[in-house]
Structures are given as structure tokens and as C-alpha cells.
Amino acid sequence: MQIAPPDFDRMFGALADATRRDIVRRAVDAEEGVAELASHYPMSFAAVQKHVAILERAGLVTKERSGRRKIVRTNPEGLRVARRLLDRYEQLWLGRIDRMTTLVADPHHTKETKR
């Protein structure tokens, strides 16, 4: 069941990885480029670059030029969108149970006789 905008898979795919969540956290300060970010993780520059590209496509970080460097910066608007989506999915099953409860109490739909 898919009930989200098209960006949904990209956004959650991006956030489903612990390294990428950590990059989002570090990039709030917008002080580091990919090379500096890569120094925090036991993985190659190329691997970190790939993580950053995934986050960029999801709208969670942007790259901006600062002199000769490219700084990775967390996009707060992307985070707010993610937060709203996360909230919505968190509520999905709870919402279903709520609707079931209402339906069970609705005499129109109670086909059987007595409990």
C-alpha cells in the first residue's frame, strides 16, 4: 500500500541508513565537504560520496560552493517534509485500528445478533 507522494521512497530510502542519518546530523553545521565527512566513517571517499548523492536526491542535503570547496549542508525544509511523512506513517496502523474500532461499534455494520 502506497499512500505517499512520489518522493516518499526516495526520502525514506535515504533516511533508512545509519550513516546517512549521521551525515544529515553533521551537515547541519555546514562546515565540511565530502572529504571531511568521509574522515568520520570507516569507508571510502567514494562510498561517502554515494551516500551524500542519495541524500541530495532526496532533498535532505545540498552542496554549495565556498571558495574552492563544496560544503554539504542539511536542508531544513527537506527535514520538515521527512518529519511530516514519518509522522504520517507512524500513525498508519494506529489510524486503521481506530477506524476498525469505530466500525465495530457501528450498528449498521453489525450483522450478527448478540455478543
Binding site: I3, F12, P76, L86, H109, R115
Partner: protein, 166 residues
């Protein structure tokens, strides 16, 4: 709120949700077995579900679509594995393409529903949601079912709060 417990176990890729209803097991079973009732709770109010095919027998198939506020449609289907009225239902929930064929790019997750009388006119429904593998679970984290989601929420909140303070 009738949800009495939600347990998540990332190691076994499982989410378990317990809910209690003041109703008989037969009544709770109807929520799943009657397509007109199913479509009143499966989709959120903004994405109501329309069940177009409903064969709740082992090997049977349930097909539905959900219609969004812009008229956009998402299609999905269940493959019924077990159906033992009014006690047990097992099905695999998948996405479908616009033409109704299965979209194999997106994972199926298996739901096991157990319905049992617990006395004093109450019935407990347990929904156990099992993910086929870790990558599928990552995709379905989206459904709000896994610890990583809460971590992501917590981290996002912390980041947003830090920005306000800065």
C-alpha cells in the same frame, strides 16, 4: 484507543501490534472478510481504499486501490496464504502497477492476523507483520514499523531544535 501494545523486533524483522475490541471474534473477522468494511478502514481518510476483488481463501487474492486527494491512485494486492474464520488470516501485501500486475520492485510483507476471545465480551486481535529481508524492511520502514524510523524522527527533531536555538 484500543491498541494495547506495539512491539518491534528488528532482529526478527517483525512488528507485533495488539488491539482489543468490545466485540466477538466473528465481528472482528468481518472487518477483514467483508470488502465493504475493509475499505472503510484500510486507507486513511485522505486515501480511501476501494476493494475491487476479494477472495479470502488460501491462494486467493484481494485487489484494491487507494485514491488520493488529487485523484491519484495507488494499487495494491494481497496474496492470501491462510484464512481460518474467525481466528486467523495470513496474507502477503504487495504493490501493483497501474494495470494491476504485481510490482516486483517493491517488497511484499507478510501479515499474520490472530483473533481470539479474551472474555467479558472482548476480543484481542494481534497483527504480526513480517518483512522478507532487511532491505525490504528498510523500504517498509516507511510504514512506521521499525525502530530506525523512531531514530530518524528523534534525530530530525534534535536537528530542527538545534537550528531554532542557533
Amino acid at each position: 484507543m484500543t491498541v494495547t501494545a506495539v512491539r518491534k523486533d528488528p532482529d526478527t524483522l517483525t512488528m507485533i501490534l495488539d488491539a482489543e475490541f468490545y466485540a466477538s471474534p466473528e465481528r472482528v473477522w468481518q472487518l477483514w472478510a467483508d470488502p465493504r468494511q475493509l475499505e472503510r478502514w484500510w486507507g486513511p481518510p485522505t486515501y480511501p481504499a476501494t476493494v475491487t476483488s476479494h477472495d479470502l481463501r488460501p491462494g486467493g487474492r484481494v485487489e484494491y486501490h487507494m485514491t488520493g486527494p488529487e485523484g491519484d491512485e495507488s494499487r495494491g494486492y494481497w496474496e492470501v496464504v491462510e484464512a481460518d474464520a474467525p481466528r486467523r488470516l495470513v496474507f502477503r501485501d504487495g504493490f501493483a502497477n497501474a494495470d494491476g500486475t504485481a510490482n516486483s520492485a517493491l517488497p511484499l510483507n507478510e501479515a499474520r492476523v490472530t483473533i481470539a476471545e479474551i472474555g467479558e465480551g472482548r476480543t484481542r486481535m494481534t497483527i504480526q507483520s513480517i518483512f522478507p529481508d532487511a532491505s525490504a524492511m528498510e523500504q517498509l520502514i516507511a510504514m512506521g514499523m521499525e525502530e530506525g524510523l523512531r531514530q530518524a524522527v528523534g534525530q530530525i527533531d534534535a536537528i530542527l531544535a538545534a537550528r531554532v536555538r542557533a
